[in-house]
């Protein structure tokens, strides 16, 4: 395989080759989890992959509970389907909990307190009472559990990791919590090996070709468990090699033809950019970006052309319009500019707003930025 083959296959696997008519549930089921700490960005991540959908439609799916938001992977929020919540958490939660041990110690949280707070959450949320984080803090306070700031965040996150609570519908702009057993009653755990194989197959179908280390990064599993998952899913997977590395994927046909130029405006943490440990294949068009800047570029809203990150954008949502300020870090010809305008128009249509698009070009410095010396 060549880099272009991998990039093209990933665009197809992540459903970005072409937005198609498919439901939110189908889209999320394919991807399994979509990083969602930026709620608006995550909605566009789903919407981008679904022809003709709108921000309101994704909101509706979230409000109804068809889509849930919880700490499914890597100690951050993800959209997941209710039926996937328990078996995914059965694989991913333990390592997030282990990685949080220092914070637990710092905030004087222990297993006894987690059990006590779990009982508080269950009583407070029972009967489909959807409560905000502050309201949960009130319930904890009544049970004489100190809960504010980081401590409160850790308590709610732990209850999410234990599959006790997850997202409820939003109340205005405020997020609420709900009980998993009420919000996702059909969520079933799987035997560990079955879950490992399922997660590996899902990752390879929706993100491949990818390395075992990519799968480990995305899922938060250890590399050993990620490899075990791939082995368990072996009958359903294919392999290809590049530069001595073995990439795993589900070789699905027919092969969707990619238009050229193919321009996307991807939100921060989009699965196409964030779901790999090795992101070098996406950054080939930015050779002058080095070090941390190179790694972190994918945590911003990015412009992607033919699978390569070539710039970034900022969004400002006003009452009637969305302002998109695009910064291009590589040259665009007229055809690519047209494709960019179409991508921006799609985003505005998704939001149901008129578009105010501003594009600027920026040359990147080839030099590594100097580190400031601390003189204090």
């Amino acid at each position: 395989m060549k880099p272009d083959d991998i990039v093209g296959a990933r665009l197809r696997a992540t459903l970005l080759a072409k937005a198609q008519v498919r439901s939110v549930e189908e889209t999320l089921s394919w991807l399994t989890a979509v990083q969602a700490q930026d709620f608006a960005g995550a909605k566009w991540a789903l919407g981008q992959r679904i022809a003709g959908t709108t921000d309101v439609a994704i909101d509706d799916a979230f409000q109804s509970g068809a889509v849930l938001r919880t700490h499914a992977m890597r100690a951050t929020w993800h959209f997941v389907l209710p039926e996937d919540l328990r078996w995914v958490l059965s694989l991913t939660a333990a390592r997030v909990i282990a990685a949080s041990a220092t914070y637990y110690r710092q905030t004087e949280l222990d297993e006894k307190l987690f059990r006590k707070s779990r009982n508080v959450f269950e009583r407070a949320l029972a009967g489909k009472r959807y409560l905000t984080r502050d309201e949960l803090a009130g319930a904890l306070a009544q049970a004489k559990i100190r809960a504010s700031g980081l401590r409160l965040g850790l308590l709610t996150m732990r209850a999410e990791l234990d599959a006790v609570i997850c997202s409820g519908p939003r109340r205005g702009k405020q997020f609420t919590y709900a009980l998993v057993e009420e919000r996702a009653p059909k969520a079933k755990p799987l035997e560990r090996e079955e879950a490992l194989a399922k997660l590996a197959r899902r990752y390879c179908q929706s993100h491949g070709p990818a390395l075992p280390q990519d799968f480990a990064w995305w899922s938060g599993l250890s590399v050993a468990d990620a490899k075990k998952g791939l082995e368990l899913a072996v009958p359903e997977l294919s392999c290809a090699s590049m530069n001595g590395k073995v990439y795993w994927f589900v070789d699905a046909r027919p092969k969707l033809r990619l238009p050229k130029p193919h321009v996307l405006l991807l939100p921060n943490y989009d699965e196409y950019t964030v779901a790999y440990k090795d992101r070098s294949l996406l950054l080939g068009a930015l050779p002058s970006l080095v070090g941390l800047a190179r790694q972190q570029v994918v945590f911003n809203h990015v412009v992607v052309r033919d699978g390569q990150v070539v710039g970034g954008f900022q969004r400002h949502v006003r009452k009637q319009r969305v302002e998109l300020e695009v910064t291009l870090l590589s040259s665009f010809d007229a055809e690519a500019e047209r494709a960019l305008e179409l991508a921006a128009a799609r985003y505005a249509a998704f939001l149901g707003l008129s578009l105010d698009l501003r594009v600027k070009r920026q040359e990147l410095s080839a030099r590594r930025p100097r580190r400031r010396r601390d003189r204090s």
Partner: protein, 128 residues
């Protein structure tokens, strides 16, 4: 030396009867003779030594070679040894299974998929 001799002896006695021995290695040089000019349908297993799914498929491929010996020719192409041939066959990943009849690729399956899909592929070739 004695151990080496002994090993050769074991290999020599089993090679002629193991199902794996019925899978014909094919490369750029013998592709035309072994595949395009074959008098029977041909099942091609395009694989690579480093590929996990290929290893899992190998016993099933060997079983098919034995089960349909004489009626279906089963061949294996090593993707690392014959990259141009693999590209010519439009193979993107390993394993890929191709069914060839009269020198034409008529069936294609990407990935192993387990025993049943390969049995079905063989049956289809034999029925056609």
């Amino acid at each position: 030396m004695a151990a080496e001799f002994g090993r050769q002896k074991v290999l020599g006695s089993s090679m002629s009867t193991t199902p794996a021995a019925l899978v014909v290695p094919v490369n750029e040089l013998n592709f035309e003779t072994e595949v395009l000019n074959a008098s029977t349908p041909v099942l091609i297993d395009v694989s690579a030594s480093w590929c996990g799914p290929c290893k899992a498929a190998r016993p099933v491929v060997a079983e098919l070679a034995q089960a349909h010996s004489g009626a279906l020719k089963v061949v294996e192409i090593d993707g690392d040894e014959s990259p141009e041939l693999v590209a010519r066959l439009g193979v993107r990943g390993f394993p890929t299974f191709l069914g060839v009849l009269g020198g034409q690729v008529v069936e294609r399956r990407a990935g192993f998929g387990g025993k049943r899909p390969l049995q079905e592929l063989a049956s289809t070739l034999l029925r056609t």
